[in-house]
Assembly symmetry: C2
Homo-oligomer: 206 residues x 2
Amino acid sequence: MKLHPITAESFAIIDAEIGPHTLTDSEYRVVRRVIHSTADFEYKDLLRFEHGAIEQGVQALRAGIPVVVDVQMVKSGVTGVALTNPLYCALDAGTMPGPGETRTEAGLNALVKRFPQAVYVIGNAPTALHALARAIHRGDARPALVVAVPVGFVQVVQAKAAIGKLAVPQIRVEGRKGGSPVAAGIINALASLAFGEDDEKRAAQI
Amino acid sequence: MKLHPITAESFAIIDAEIGPHTLTDSEYRVVRRVIHSTADFEYKDLLRFEHGAIEQGVQALRAGIPVVVDVQMVKSGVTGVALTNPLYCALDAGTMPGPGETRTEAGLNALVKRFPQAVYVIGNAPTALHALARAIHRGDARPALVVAVPVGFVQVVQAKAAIGKLAVPQIRVEGRKGGSPVAAGIINALASLAFGEDDEKRAAQI
Protein backbone atom coordinates (compact mmCIF):
# COMPACT_ATOMS: atom_id res chain seq x y z
CA MET A 1 0.00 0.00 0.00
CA LYS A 2 3.09 2.21 0.02
CA LEU A 3 4.52 4.28 -2.80
CA HIS A 4 8.09 3.55 -3.87
CA PRO A 5 10.34 6.46 -2.74
CA ILE A 6 11.16 7.45 -6.34
CA THR A 7 7.48 7.46 -7.32
CA ALA A 8 6.64 9.46 -4.18
CA GLU A 9 9.39 11.97 -5.02
CA SER A 10 8.16 12.25 -8.61
CA PHE A 11 4.58 12.78 -7.43
CA ALA A 12 5.75 15.48 -4.99
CA ILE A 13 7.48 17.32 -7.86
CA ILE A 14 4.33 17.13 -9.98
CA ASP A 15 2.19 18.31 -7.00
CA ALA A 16 4.51 21.31 -6.60
CA GLU A 17 4.49 22.24 -10.30
CA ILE A 18 0.94 21.40 -11.41
CA GLY A 19 -0.58 24.80 -10.62
CA PRO A 20 -4.28 25.55 -10.15
CA HIS A 21 -6.88 23.10 -11.43
CA THR A 22 -10.46 22.00 -10.82
CA LEU A 23 -9.94 18.24 -10.94
CA THR A 24 -11.48 15.99 -8.30
CA ASP A 25 -9.06 14.05 -6.11
CA SER A 26 -9.40 10.81 -8.09
CA GLU A 27 -9.24 12.65 -11.44
CA TYR A 28 -6.02 14.30 -10.26
CA ARG A 29 -4.55 10.92 -9.35
CA VAL A 30 -5.14 9.77 -12.94
CA VAL A 31 -3.76 13.01 -14.41
CA ARG A 32 -0.69 12.81 -12.17
CA ARG A 33 0.06 9.25 -13.27
CA VAL A 34 -0.16 10.33 -16.95
CA ILE A 35 2.16 13.29 -16.35
CA HIS A 36 4.51 10.91 -14.51
CA SER A 37 4.68 8.64 -17.57
CA THR A 38 5.10 11.44 -20.15
CA ALA A 39 6.67 14.43 -18.30
CA ASP A 40 4.07 16.46 -20.21
CA PHE A 41 1.98 18.81 -18.07
CA GLU A 42 -0.36 19.56 -20.99
CA TYR A 43 -2.29 16.44 -20.01
CA LYS A 44 -3.74 18.40 -17.08
CA ASP A 45 -5.88 20.29 -19.60
CA LEU A 46 -6.35 17.54 -22.19
CA LEU A 47 -7.89 14.72 -20.16
CA ARG A 48 -11.69 14.36 -20.02
CA PHE A 49 -13.60 12.22 -17.52
CA GLU A 50 -17.20 11.63 -18.56
CA HIS A 51 -20.29 9.59 -17.59
CA GLY A 52 -18.91 8.42 -14.24
CA ALA A 53 -15.73 7.12 -15.86
CA ILE A 54 -13.55 6.68 -12.79
CA GLU A 55 -16.25 5.13 -10.58
CA GLN A 56 -17.29 2.74 -13.38
CA GLY A 57 -13.68 1.85 -14.18
CA VAL A 58 -12.75 1.19 -10.55
CA GLN A 59 -15.89 -0.89 -10.03
CA ALA A 60 -15.19 -2.90 -13.20
CA LEU A 61 -11.59 -3.62 -12.20
CA ARG A 62 -12.71 -4.73 -8.74
CA ALA A 63 -15.37 -6.96 -10.33
CA GLY A 64 -12.64 -8.74 -12.33
CA ILE A 65 -14.03 -7.62 -15.68
CA PRO A 66 -11.66 -8.20 -18.65
CA VAL A 67 -9.50 -5.40 -20.00
CA VAL A 68 -9.10 -5.21 -23.80
CA VAL A 69 -6.20 -3.15 -25.19
CA ASP A 70 -5.43 -2.34 -28.82
CA VAL A 71 -1.70 -3.09 -29.13
CA GLN A 72 1.13 -4.93 -27.40
CA MET A 73 2.85 -1.74 -26.17
CA VAL A 74 -0.20 -0.91 -24.04
CA LYS A 75 -0.33 -4.49 -22.77
CA SER A 76 3.36 -4.32 -21.81
CA GLY A 77 2.68 -1.12 -19.88
CA VAL A 78 0.00 -2.64 -17.67
CA THR A 79 1.39 -6.14 -17.26
CA GLY A 80 2.88 -6.95 -13.90
CA VAL A 81 1.24 -4.11 -12.01
CA ALA A 82 -1.62 -4.27 -9.52
CA LEU A 83 -3.97 -5.30 -12.30
CA THR A 84 -5.09 -8.92 -12.03
CA ASN A 85 -7.95 -8.72 -14.52
CA PRO A 86 -7.89 -10.87 -17.66
CA LEU A 87 -6.07 -8.91 -20.34
CA TYR A 88 -6.66 -9.23 -24.09
CA CYS A 89 -4.89 -7.49 -26.97
CA ALA A 90 -6.83 -6.79 -30.19
CA LEU A 91 -3.73 -6.97 -32.37
CA ASP A 92 -2.81 -10.36 -30.86
CA ALA A 93 -6.31 -11.79 -31.31
CA GLY A 94 -5.18 -13.33 -34.60
CA THR A 95 -8.37 -12.39 -36.40
CA MET A 96 -8.04 -12.18 -40.19
CA PRO A 97 -8.99 -8.67 -41.32
CA GLY A 98 -11.76 -8.29 -43.90
CA PRO A 99 -11.35 -6.04 -46.97
CA GLY A 100 -10.36 -2.48 -45.96
CA GLU A 101 -10.09 -3.51 -42.30
CA THR A 102 -6.94 -3.23 -40.15
CA ARG A 103 -5.78 -6.18 -38.02
CA THR A 104 -6.42 -4.21 -34.83
CA GLU A 105 -9.94 -3.38 -35.98
CA ALA A 106 -10.66 -7.04 -36.86
CA GLY A 107 -9.29 -8.20 -33.50
CA LEU A 108 -11.30 -5.56 -31.67
CA ASN A 109 -14.53 -6.57 -33.38
CA ALA A 110 -13.90 -10.22 -32.45
CA LEU A 111 -13.23 -9.28 -28.80
CA VAL A 112 -16.35 -7.07 -28.67
CA LYS A 113 -18.41 -10.18 -29.48
CA ARG A 114 -16.79 -12.11 -26.61
CA PHE A 115 -16.62 -9.28 -24.05
CA PRO A 116 -19.24 -6.61 -24.84
CA GLN A 117 -18.96 -5.12 -21.33
CA ALA A 118 -15.16 -5.08 -20.93
CA VAL A 119 -12.92 -2.11 -20.17
CA TYR A 120 -11.63 -0.98 -23.59
CA VAL A 121 -8.27 0.77 -23.81
CA ILE A 122 -7.22 2.28 -27.16
CA GLY A 123 -3.77 3.89 -27.03
CA ASN A 124 -2.76 3.78 -30.67
CA ALA A 125 -5.15 2.62 -33.38
CA PRO A 126 -7.84 5.15 -34.37
CA THR A 127 -9.39 2.47 -36.60
CA ALA A 128 -10.00 0.36 -33.48
CA LEU A 129 -11.58 3.32 -31.68
CA HIS A 130 -13.84 4.02 -34.68
CA ALA A 131 -14.86 0.33 -34.76
CA LEU A 132 -15.61 0.42 -31.02
CA ALA A 133 -17.71 3.58 -31.42
CA ARG A 134 -19.72 1.88 -34.17
CA ALA A 135 -20.22 -1.25 -32.03
CA ILE A 136 -21.46 0.86 -29.11
CA HIS A 137 -23.77 2.82 -31.42
CA ARG A 138 -25.22 -0.44 -32.79
CA GLY A 139 -25.76 -1.69 -29.23
CA ASP A 140 -23.29 -4.57 -29.70
CA ALA A 141 -20.89 -3.20 -27.07
CA ARG A 142 -21.68 -1.69 -23.66
CA PRO A 143 -18.17 -1.13 -22.22
CA ALA A 144 -17.77 -0.56 -18.48
CA LEU A 145 -15.25 2.10 -19.51
CA VAL A 146 -13.55 3.34 -22.67
CA VAL A 147 -10.04 4.78 -22.42
CA ALA A 148 -9.85 6.73 -25.69
CA VAL A 149 -6.28 7.98 -26.07
CA PRO A 150 -4.89 7.12 -29.53
CA VAL A 151 -2.08 9.40 -30.70
CA GLY A 152 -1.50 10.82 -34.16
CA PHE A 153 -2.38 13.05 -37.04
CA VAL A 154 -4.86 11.13 -39.18
CA GLN A 155 -8.35 10.06 -38.02
CA VAL A 156 -7.32 10.40 -34.34
CA VAL A 157 -9.28 13.56 -33.50
CA GLN A 158 -12.27 12.22 -35.45
CA ALA A 159 -12.26 8.84 -33.67
CA LYS A 160 -12.10 10.57 -30.28
CA ALA A 161 -15.01 12.82 -31.32
CA ALA A 162 -17.08 9.77 -32.34
CA ILE A 163 -16.60 8.24 -28.87
CA GLY A 164 -17.17 11.63 -27.24
CA LYS A 165 -20.70 11.77 -28.68
CA LEU A 166 -21.71 8.50 -26.99
CA ALA A 167 -23.11 8.27 -23.45
CA VAL A 168 -20.51 5.70 -22.38
CA PRO A 169 -18.17 6.08 -19.37
CA GLN A 170 -14.94 7.36 -20.91
CA ILE A 171 -11.54 8.87 -20.21
CA ARG A 172 -10.39 10.75 -23.29
CA VAL A 173 -7.42 12.87 -24.35
CA GLU A 174 -8.61 15.76 -26.49
CA GLY A 175 -6.62 16.50 -29.65
CA ARG A 176 -3.77 14.56 -31.22
CA LYS A 177 -1.86 13.53 -28.13
CA GLY A 178 -2.05 10.20 -26.29
CA GLY A 179 -0.27 6.89 -26.79
CA SER A 180 0.74 3.73 -24.97
CA PRO A 181 2.27 5.33 -21.84
CA VAL A 182 -0.83 7.51 -21.46
CA ALA A 183 -3.13 4.50 -21.79
CA ALA A 184 -1.03 2.43 -19.39
CA GLY A 185 -0.78 5.35 -16.93
CA ILE A 186 -4.57 5.66 -16.82
CA ILE A 187 -5.12 1.94 -16.22
CA ASN A 188 -2.37 1.85 -13.59
CA ALA A 189 -3.95 4.82 -11.80
CA LEU A 190 -7.37 3.13 -11.84
CA ALA A 191 -5.75 -0.08 -10.53
CA SER A 192 -4.22 1.95 -7.67
CA LEU A 193 -7.63 3.46 -6.90
CA ALA A 194 -9.25 0.02 -7.05
CA PHE A 195 -6.68 -2.07 -5.21
CA GLY A 196 -4.40 0.40 -3.40
CA GLU A 197 -0.96 1.65 -4.38
CA ASP A 198 1.34 -1.07 -5.52
CA ASP A 199 4.41 0.83 -6.52
CA GLU A 200 6.76 -1.11 -4.29
CA LYS A 201 5.91 -4.18 -6.33
CA ARG A 202 5.96 -2.32 -9.64
CA ALA A 203 9.26 -0.57 -8.98
CA ALA A 204 10.86 -3.82 -7.81
CA GLN A 205 10.02 -5.25 -11.22
CA ILE A 206 11.81 -2.42 -13.04
CA MET B 1 9.96 0.73 -50.00
CA LYS B 2 6.72 2.69 -50.01
CA LEU B 3 5.14 4.60 -47.14
CA HIS B 4 1.66 3.53 -46.07
CA PRO B 5 -0.87 6.22 -47.17
CA ILE B 6 -1.76 7.09 -43.55
CA THR B 7 1.91 7.43 -42.57
CA ALA B 8 2.55 9.53 -45.68
CA GLU B 9 -0.42 11.77 -44.81
CA SER B 10 0.80 12.12 -41.21
CA PHE B 11 4.31 12.99 -42.39
CA ALA B 12 2.89 15.60 -44.81
CA ILE B 13 0.99 17.24 -41.92
CA ILE B 14 4.16 17.31 -39.80
CA ASP B 15 6.16 18.72 -42.75
CA ALA B 16 3.58 21.50 -43.11
CA GLU B 17 3.53 22.38 -39.40
CA ILE B 18 7.14 21.85 -38.30
CA GLY B 19 8.33 25.39 -39.05
CA PRO B 20 11.95 26.49 -39.50
CA HIS B 21 14.77 24.26 -38.24
CA THR B 22 18.43 23.51 -38.88
CA LEU B 23 18.26 19.70 -38.80
CA THR B 24 20.00 17.65 -41.48
CA ASP B 25 17.77 15.52 -43.69
CA SER B 26 18.41 12.32 -41.75
CA GLU B 27 18.07 14.08 -38.38
CA TYR B 28 14.73 15.43 -39.54
CA ARG B 29 13.56 11.95 -40.49
CA VAL B 30 14.26 10.81 -36.91
CA VAL B 31 12.59 13.90 -35.40
CA ARG B 32 9.55 13.46 -37.64
CA ARG B 33 9.14 9.84 -36.60
CA VAL B 34 9.27 10.87 -32.91
CA ILE B 35 6.67 13.61 -33.47
CA HIS B 36 4.57 11.05 -35.34
CA SER B 37 4.60 8.73 -32.30
CA THR B 38 3.92 11.46 -29.69
CA ALA B 39 2.09 14.31 -31.51
CA ASP B 40 4.49 16.53 -29.56
CA PHE B 41 6.35 19.10 -31.68
CA GLU B 42 8.61 20.02 -28.75
CA TYR B 43 10.83 17.10 -29.76
CA LYS B 44 12.06 19.23 -32.67
CA ASP B 45 14.02 21.27 -30.13
CA LEU B 46 14.76 18.54 -27.56
CA LEU B 47 16.56 15.91 -29.64
CA ARG B 48 20.36 15.89 -29.78
CA PHE B 49 22.47 13.98 -32.31
CA GLU B 50 26.12 13.70 -31.27
CA HIS B 51 29.37 11.97 -32.27
CA GLY B 52 28.09 10.72 -35.64
CA ALA B 53 25.04 9.12 -34.03
CA ILE B 54 22.91 8.51 -37.10
CA GLU B 55 25.74 7.25 -39.34
CA GLN B 56 26.98 4.92 -36.57
CA GLY B 57 23.48 3.68 -35.78
CA VAL B 58 22.62 2.99 -39.42
CA GLN B 59 25.93 1.21 -39.96
CA ALA B 60 25.42 -0.91 -36.81
CA LEU B 61 21.90 -1.92 -37.82
CA ARG B 62 23.12 -2.89 -41.31
CA ALA B 63 25.96 -4.89 -39.74
CA GLY B 64 23.42 -6.94 -37.77
CA ILE B 65 24.71 -5.73 -34.41
CA PRO B 66 22.40 -6.57 -31.43
CA VAL B 67 20.01 -3.99 -30.06
CA VAL B 68 19.59 -3.89 -26.25
CA VAL B 69 16.51 -2.12 -24.83
CA ASP B 70 15.67 -1.43 -21.19
CA VAL B 71 12.03 -2.51 -20.89
CA GLN B 72 9.38 -4.58 -22.64
CA MET B 73 7.38 -1.54 -23.83
CA VAL B 74 10.33 -0.42 -25.96
CA LYS B 75 10.78 -3.96 -27.27
CA SER B 76 7.09 -4.11 -28.22
CA GLY B 77 7.49 -0.82 -30.09
CA VAL B 78 10.29 -2.07 -32.34
CA THR B 79 9.21 -5.68 -32.79
CA GLY B 80 7.80 -6.61 -36.17
CA VAL B 81 9.16 -3.60 -38.01
CA ALA B 82 12.00 -3.43 -40.49
CA LEU B 83 14.47 -4.30 -37.74
CA THR B 84 15.90 -7.78 -38.08
CA ASN B 85 18.75 -7.38 -35.58
CA PRO B 86 18.89 -9.56 -32.46
CA LEU B 87 16.89 -7.80 -29.75
CA TYR B 88 17.53 -8.11 -26.01
CA CYS B 89 15.60 -6.57 -23.10
CA ALA B 90 17.48 -5.74 -19.88
CA LEU B 91 14.41 -6.22 -17.69
CA ASP B 92 13.79 -9.66 -19.24
CA ALA B 93 17.40 -10.78 -18.81
CA GLY B 94 16.40 -12.43 -15.55
CA THR B 95 19.52 -11.25 -13.74
CA MET B 96 19.15 -11.11 -9.94
CA PRO B 97 19.79 -7.55 -8.78
CA GLY B 98 22.52 -6.94 -6.20
CA PRO B 99 21.90 -4.79 -3.10
CA GLY B 100 20.62 -1.33 -4.06
CA GLU B 101 20.42 -2.33 -7.73
CA THR B 102 17.26 -2.32 -9.87
CA ARG B 103 16.37 -5.33 -12.02
CA THR B 104 16.82 -3.27 -15.20
CA GLU B 105 20.27 -2.13 -14.03
CA ALA B 106 21.32 -5.71 -13.20
CA GLY B 107 20.05 -6.94 -16.57
CA LEU B 108 21.81 -4.12 -18.36
CA ASN B 109 25.14 -4.85 -16.67
CA ALA B 110 24.84 -8.53 -17.65
CA LEU B 111 24.07 -7.61 -21.29
CA VAL B 112 26.99 -5.12 -21.39
CA LYS B 113 29.32 -8.05 -20.64
CA ARG B 114 27.86 -10.08 -23.52
CA PHE B 115 27.45 -7.25 -26.04
CA PRO B 116 29.81 -4.36 -25.23
CA GLN B 117 29.39 -2.85 -28.72
CA ALA B 118 25.62 -3.16 -29.11
CA VAL B 119 23.10 -0.39 -29.85
CA TYR B 120 21.72 0.56 -26.41
CA VAL B 121 18.21 2.01 -26.18
CA ILE B 122 17.03 3.37 -22.81
CA GLY B 123 13.44 4.65 -22.91
CA ASN B 124 12.45 4.41 -19.26
CA ALA B 125 14.93 3.43 -16.57
CA PRO B 126 17.39 6.20 -15.56
CA THR B 127 19.20 3.63 -13.36
CA ALA B 128 19.98 1.62 -16.49
CA LEU B 129 21.29 4.74 -18.26
CA HIS B 130 23.48 5.60 -15.26
CA ALA B 131 24.82 2.04 -15.21
CA LEU B 132 25.57 2.24 -18.95
CA ALA B 133 27.38 5.58 -18.51
CA ARG B 134 29.54 4.03 -15.78
CA ALA B 135 30.32 0.99 -17.95
CA ILE B 136 31.36 3.25 -20.86
CA HIS B 137 33.47 5.38 -18.53
CA ARG B 138 35.23 2.25 -17.19
CA GLY B 139 35.84 1.10 -20.77
CA ASP B 140 33.67 -2.00 -20.34
CA ALA B 141 31.16 -0.83 -22.95
CA ARG B 142 31.78 0.78 -26.35
CA PRO B 143 28.25 1.04 -27.78
CA ALA B 144 27.78 1.60 -31.52
CA LEU B 145 25.03 4.01 -30.45
CA VAL B 146 23.23 5.05 -27.27
CA VAL B 147 19.60 6.17 -27.50
CA ALA B 148 19.24 8.06 -24.21
CA VAL B 149 15.58 8.97 -23.81
CA PRO B 150 14.28 7.93 -20.36
CA VAL B 151 11.26 9.93 -19.16
CA GLY B 152 10.54 11.26 -15.68
CA PHE B 153 11.23 13.53 -12.77
CA VAL B 154 13.89 11.80 -10.65
CA GLN B 155 17.45 11.09 -11.85
CA VAL B 156 16.39 11.38 -15.49
CA VAL B 157 18.04 14.71 -16.31
CA GLN B 158 21.16 13.63 -14.37
CA ALA B 159 21.46 10.28 -16.18
CA LYS B 160 21.14 12.03 -19.56
CA ALA B 161 23.82 14.54 -18.49
CA ALA B 162 26.15 11.67 -17.52
CA ILE B 163 25.82 10.16 -21.01
CA GLY B 164 26.08 13.61 -22.59
CA LYS B 165 29.59 14.03 -21.15
CA LEU B 166 30.89 10.90 -22.90
CA ALA B 167 32.31 10.83 -26.42
CA VAL B 168 29.95 8.07 -27.53
CA PRO B 169 27.57 8.27 -30.52
CA GLN B 170 24.25 9.22 -28.99
CA ILE B 171 20.72 10.41 -29.66
CA ARG B 172 19.41 12.14 -26.57
CA VAL B 173 16.26 13.97 -25.47
CA GLU B 174 17.18 16.93 -23.29
CA GLY B 175 15.13 17.42 -20.12
CA ARG B 176 12.47 15.20 -18.57
CA LYS B 177 10.66 14.07 -21.68
CA GLY B 178 11.16 10.80 -23.56
CA GLY B 179 9.67 7.32 -23.09
CA SER B 180 8.98 4.10 -24.97
CA PRO B 181 7.30 5.59 -28.07
CA VAL B 182 10.19 8.06 -28.42
CA ALA B 183 12.75 5.26 -28.14
CA ALA B 184 10.85 3.05 -30.56
CA GLY B 185 10.33 5.96 -32.98
CA ILE B 186 14.08 6.62 -33.09
CA ILE B 187 14.96 2.98 -33.75
CA ASN B 188 12.23 2.66 -36.37
CA ALA B 189 13.53 5.80 -38.12
CA LEU B 190 17.08 4.41 -38.10
CA ALA B 191 15.78 1.10 -39.46
CA SER B 192 14.06 3.00 -42.27
CA LEU B 193 17.32 4.84 -43.02
CA ALA B 194 19.24 1.54 -42.93
CA PHE B 195 16.86 -0.74 -44.79
CA GLY B 196 14.37 1.55 -46.57
CA GLU B 197 10.85 2.48 -45.58
CA ASP B 198 8.80 -0.49 -44.51
CA ASP B 199 5.58 1.13 -43.47
CA GLU B 200 3.39 -0.98 -45.73
CA LYS B 201 4.52 -3.99 -43.73
CA ARG B 202 4.31 -2.19 -40.39
CA ALA B 203 0.84 -0.77 -41.05
CA ALA B 204 -0.43 -4.14 -42.26
CA GLN B 205 0.55 -5.54 -38.88
CA ILE B 206 -1.50 -2.93 -37.02
